[in-house]
């Protein structure tokens, strides 16, 4: 099988095998802990107003999805290539007519599929918890209603509860969390093409992640307020070129705080994430092509 269909077959074969291997390693058990933790949390906050309770729940849910995803993305990606080299499976794969970039892309897409499955499952659990919370809150309002018919004020309250639990913003936030995971996994996979230590790769990815967060603040202080000299400005230029701006994803917090954001803006950040991940993987491919195994 030659040409594009051959390339596609090889990439999907590697991606499928990577995904199956991860699933058989029981990575998804982490999700069980996530589900239990979130459910317990949802019924713990009962002494606040329903608006606050929903906000807490959304914050906890999205933070848990983010942290679980980031851990799996970083640790999983850091092991993708080094584990193949250690077990020597890479020799059998690359002695077949498989290009090195095809191998790298297949491994990345396998991990990305795992992250997507995890995110979808966690989001479904999250949605269930929100719906259960909605049912409980609505029932409480109905109990207060005399003769079972809610007053106009109570109807408004029920609508508010439903608006909180079925918030479109949560969906936008989840899409952005998904895109951030894709980018972080891309960075870790690229680092794994040049390093052998998992600890080094995870640590370096974390450093890049934090620098990516801080560069917007540095930009604000050094450029916009004019306090930076030539060195600071040059440093910022280099950092901006090499490291993605993770501060862009702080919009997730804004959305969860109740501020509405247009879908166009969400797609803009998603596009930025995909382009950056593609560029960083292309760099990883060039490094991996030259690597001696």
């Amino acid at each position: 099988m030659d040409g594009f269909s051959g390339i596609l077959l090889r990439i999907t074969t590697i991606a499928k095998n990577t995904l199956i291997e991860s699933l058989r390693q029981r990575v998804l058990l982490v999700l069980l802990l996530f589900g239990v933790g979130l459910t317990v949390a949802s019924f713990y906050f009962t002494q606040f107003t329903f608006e606050d309770e929903f906000r807490f729940l959304k914050d906890i849910g999205s933070a848990s999805i983010s942290i679980t995803g980031l851990l799996v993305a970083m640790i999983g990606a850091a092991q993708l290539i080094p584990a193949e080299i250690e077990r020597r499976t890479i020799y059998t794969v690359l002695s077949k007519p498989v290009g090195r970039f095809e191998f790298l892309l297949g491994k990345y897409l396998g991990l990305f599929s795992l992250l997507t499955i995890m995110l979808v499952l966690m989001s479904m659990m999250f949605a269930c918890v929100l719906l259960v919370k909605e049912t409980v809150e609505v029932r409480e309002v109905m109990v207060q209603a005399s003769s079972g018919v809610p007053s106009e004020q109570q109807l408004e309250m029920i609508n508010d509860i439903k608006a909180q639990s079925r918030d479109e913003g949560v969906f936008q936030a989840l899409i952005l969390i998904w895109m951030r995971l894709a980018l972080v996994a891309g960075i870790a996979v690229t680092l794994s093409t040049m390093a052998t230590s998992t600890v080094f790769i995870v640590f370096t990815t974390l450093v890049i992640y934090f620098i990516g967060h801080l560069q917007a603040t540095a930009r604000e202080v050094w450029l916009e307020q004019g306090t930076g000299g030539v060195f600071e400005t040059s440093l910022l230029a280099v950092v901006s070129l090499l490291i993605p701006d993770f501060q862009s994803y702080s919009i997730i917090d804004e959305i969860l705080a109740g501020n509405s954001v247009s879908w166009n803006y969400v797609f803009e950040i998603a596009g930025y994430s995909v382009c950056y991940a593609a560029i960083i993987l292309a760099i990883g491919g060039l490094i991996f092509k030259e690597r001696e195994l």
């Binding site: 999907t12 690359l94 002695s95």
Partner: protein
């Protein structure tokens, strides 16, 4: 003889490989100016102690590392190129395959990488599982396989895309004598089918049994290369083996040889190798 048949299966010219060591600790010389030719249809043994350059030679031929100098070709194609890799199958030393996969699943994975799918993959997998005597264990997870069985499924994956040249790195390492015998029988069978087999081993008796030609490497340098007869024949001496000889006949033979003025005469009872004795006892 067609042009393709004349092309050597493997041709290495002036190949050197030096690895840069970290922290300015210098350079490690893994191979130095290696010339080597393997003809099509040969079983070719790569011999040498640990660190002699056997694995580096194989890795250069597979494109896993790049030679510092020189060139290597597989059936006329530059080693490491996609065209060359279409012609080769590789079994690394102590291969690892995910233990949760079964025999068919391993072959299905490598089939996808080789561009073989569907009915063709199923047929080819059946054929190879039959060849390596693993049909009975095809649906068992690999974690239940013995080391010899893992080597054999490794050989099956190497053969999946029907390559003309096979590289086997220590194919009998850690395998019991029966498994080792099965592997050697397979190598001979593959040669009879027209395949070229290049393999490395520390077990000299096994190499002697199957190889048509060998090369001996030491500290990255080639010490010698040739057929076993060329390398091992003792000049001006002959060996005769006669069955059913009693003591009287033996004395008579000795006297005849001494009368003929032959210098040193050594007459001894032939012995089986321990390996042959073991296999004779165990495999009935």
């Amino acid at each position: 003889m067609s042009k393709e048949q004349k092309t050597p299966a493997v041709e290495v010219r002036g190949m050197s490989k030096r690895f840069k060591l970290n922290w300015r600790r210098g350079v490690l010389l893994a191979l130095e100016n290696l010339d080597m030719t393997v003809q099509q249809g040969e079983i070719f043994g790569l011999l040498g102690p640990n660190g002699s350059g056997k694995s580096t030679t194989m890795k250069c031929l597979l494109g896993l590392v790049k030679p510092t100098e020189g060139s290597a070709k597989i059936l006329g194609y530059d080693s490491g190129s996609i065209e060359a890799r279409n012609q080769v199958g590789f079994l690394p030393e102590n291969p690892y395959f995910p233990s949760f996969l079964n025999g068919y699943e391993v072959l299905s994975y490598y089939g996808g990488l080789s561009g073989i799918t569907g009915k063709k993959l199923k047929e080819r997998s059946d054929e190879l599982l039959e060849l390596v005597s693993l049909k009975h264990a095809a649906y068992r997870p690999l974690r239940t396989y013995s080391k010899g069985m893992l080597q054999r499924i490794g050989l099956a994956q190497a053969l999946l895309h029907d390559p003309k040249v096979l590289f086997l790195d220590e194919p009998t390492a850690g395998v019991d004598p029966i498994g080792s015998r099965q592997m050697r029988d397979l190598m001979l069978k593959l040669r009879d089918e027209g395949k070229t087999v290049v393999f490395s081993s520390h077990l000299l008796e096994q190499v002697e049994e199957v190889s048509d030609r060998v090369i001996i490497l030491h500290q990255g340098l080639k010490l010698c290369e040739g057929t076993l007869d060329e390398l091992l024949e003792v000049p001006d001496a002959i060996e005769i083996q006669v069955d059913d000889v009693d003591q009287a006949s033996e004395d008579e033979i000795r006297q005849v040889l001494e009368k003929a003025g032959i210098g040193q005469v050594e007459i001894r009872r032939p012995r089986l190798s321990l390996e042959k004795f073991f296999i004779k006892k165990v495999v009935r």
